[in-house]
């Protein structure tokens, strides 16, 4: 039972991450390929504050959101000079950059590669309580994204994706929308990162690599771009599937490659046969 709670918690965390990534990639059409970096910033911020400075976890998670959003904007500003594939590649480079930073600079618990020992509040201790707490945060995040989607802001994001030049021609600067949505995506990634640490009890730099950034692309690609339902559906189906693999007793040396191979295959099949994903509104931007 605890294991089922664990899987459900993991799904919830990834839903939060997907919600943010979908705002950035699906709605606004920014080819963000380094979202894992912001996930890592959030995870490390929350863990360091909680473990070394004994900041209560909920506050540490909020701080993680803020720090991730700031880091996200700070990294976006230089990258905004790039267009198209160059932009995608620049964001992809963030994975390597932040991996090196985490790997070389981030504190570790003696004798390990990463951090553990989070002190969670009583209401989030235990598999069931943790799940319920994370679920509550996920619901709030989804409602917030739903509100953004339904607002004039959401409309402006979609306009930014469709035709930035036309948006400029009616007096609105697409860059401003890109920056603000990037901050929102960063904040949600930071929140997801903090909760990811709480779910796994342990974080290290290998959790926040290109593979993770690609996984999020697969999740929203399969679920559906520019769709809230897609942000939920993708993680639920795919995490359900890969955790299922573990369940049927596949050796752990195979689950890793099998999972990434499956993700690759899904990307290929999607691009060939259903570019908008299961319930998405449109395909990846030209």
């Amino acid at each position: 039972m605890d294991h089922l709670f664990y899987i459900a918690t993991l799904m919830s965390v990834w839903i939060i991450f997907s919600l943010g990534a979908n705002l950035v990639i699906g709605y606004t059409g920014l080819m963000a390929m380094g979202q894992a970096a912001y996930l890592g910033v959030g995870a490390y911020t929350a863990a360091v504050l909680n473990i070394f400075f004994h900041v209560p976890f909920p506050i540490a998670a909020l701080a993680a959101m803020a720090v991730s959003a700031l880091v996200a904007v700070a990294t976006l500003l230089p990258l905004q000079r790039l267009e198209g594939f160059y932009f995608a590649l620049g964001t992809l480079g963030l994975n390597f950059l932040f991996f090196d930073l985490f790997h070389n600079l981030a504190p570790r618990v003696e004798g390990s590669e990463g951090l553990y020992g989070l002190e969670l509040p009583a209401f989030a201790t235990g598999a069931r309580n943790l799940f319920l707490s994370v679920l509550a945060v996920t619901i709030v995040s989804a409602l917030a994204c739903w509100r953004l989607d339904a607002s004039p802001y959401g409309r402006a994001l979609r306009a930014t994706r469709d035709r930035p030049d036309a948006l400029r021609s009616i007096g609105k600067e697409p860059r401003m929308f890109q920056i603000s949505v990037w901050a929102v995506g960063g904040a949600l990634a930071g929140l997801a990162g903090a909760l990811y640490g709480a779910t796994l009890f342990y974080i290290d730099p290998t959790l926040f690599t290109l593979n993770t950034s690609i996984a999020i692309l697969v999740f929203i690609g399969v679920g559906g771009l520019a769709s809230l339902a897609g942000s939920v559906l993708g993680p639920v189906l795919l995490i359900g599937f890969t955790e299922g693999l573990r369940y049927v007793g596949l050796p752990s040396t195979l689950t890793g490659p099998l999972q990434s191979g499956l993700y690759g295959l899904l990307l290929i099949v999607l691009m060939l046969f259903r570019r908008q994903g299961l319930v998405g509104k449109h395909d990846f931007r030209e």
Partner: protein
């Protein structure tokens, strides 16, 4: 008489791409409440002129003044904010937005258009914006397709949507780059109606770039003819469209074609 304070005025604009001259020393004015038309053969530089006025390109010579203030060198976004909006010859609507969302997107300073303000109560302002957008679409006989994705509509209707979107910005001057080109004849009266509403009712100024001479004759107050990199003739519609050189050089060809 309109004063320089309520005018869009271009003085001696020259533009060049690399070494290739597009036009030289072009001057014109658009008055509030008036329609200035610009005609000229393909490749004369009409679209380039709009781009120069709107800050997409920096001219190699000359300036544009809005209400007496120089705007040359200012960014496109800033120019729109100051009150000049344009449409594109090759319609650039937002294809995944519905027709009415396209128009709504044009409305400036909307409540709820920022991350934080999206969580305030934007409902009332959104409703009144929606009504304003709907009335623009109504004038263009597009209310029937208001909630269809704009990208799925025929080219002519997309063109009208772009027109309504530019109007929705509230800009005092609207530059229309061939609004009638590629639009079915049956829709032309709708365009004319909207252009009249903008000028006669709302007192805005319009620069109308157009190939359709009948359309120009019907709407414009002043005309200038762009040809061979310069202004071939300019003045009132009557004068210019009856000018011998214009008939010989330009209109003759249009009628032949």
């Amino acid at each position: 008489m309109t004063s320089a304070n309520s005018q869009l005025r271009a003085e001696g604009l020259s533009m060049r791409f690399g070494g290739v001259r597009v036009f030289e020393d072009i001057s014109f004015t658009v008055d509030l409440g008036g329609i200035t038309a610009c005609i000229g053969p393909n490749g004369a530089g009409k679209s380039t002129l709009v781009n120069v006025v709107c800050g997409v390109y920096i001219p190699v010579g000359g300036q544009t003044f809005l209400n007496g203030e120089m705007i040359t060198g200012t960014s496109t976004v800033e120019i729109v904010r100051r009150g000049i909006c344009r449409t594109f010859q090759d319609v650039r609507i937002f294809p995944t937005l519905t027709a009415i969302e396209n128009v709504l997107a044009g409305i400036p300073r909307q409540r709820g258009e920022g991350v934080l303000s999206a969580f305030t109560n934007f409902g009332p302002s959104e409703r009144s914006n929606r009504n304003a957008a709907m009335s623009l679409l109504d004038d263009l006989a597009l209310s029937g397709v208001a909630s269809r994705p704009a990208g799925e509509l025929p080219f002519g209707q997309q063109k009208l949507i772009a027109l309504a979107r530019a109007a929705a910005t509230g800009a005092r001057f609207v530059l229309l780059d061939e609004p009638a080109a590629g639009v079915e004849l049956s829709l032309l009266p709708n365009i004319a109606k909207l252009v009249r509403r903008l000028t006669r009712t709302e007192g805005r100024g319009v620069l109308l770039i157009e190939h359709n001479v009948d359309f120009v004759r019907e709407l414009a107050d002043q005309v200038f003819v762009l040809q061979g990199g310069g202004v071939l003739a300019s003045g009132s519609v009557q004068q210019v469209l009856n000018d011998e050189r214009v008939i010989k050089e330009y209109l003759g060809r249009v009628y032949d074609a």
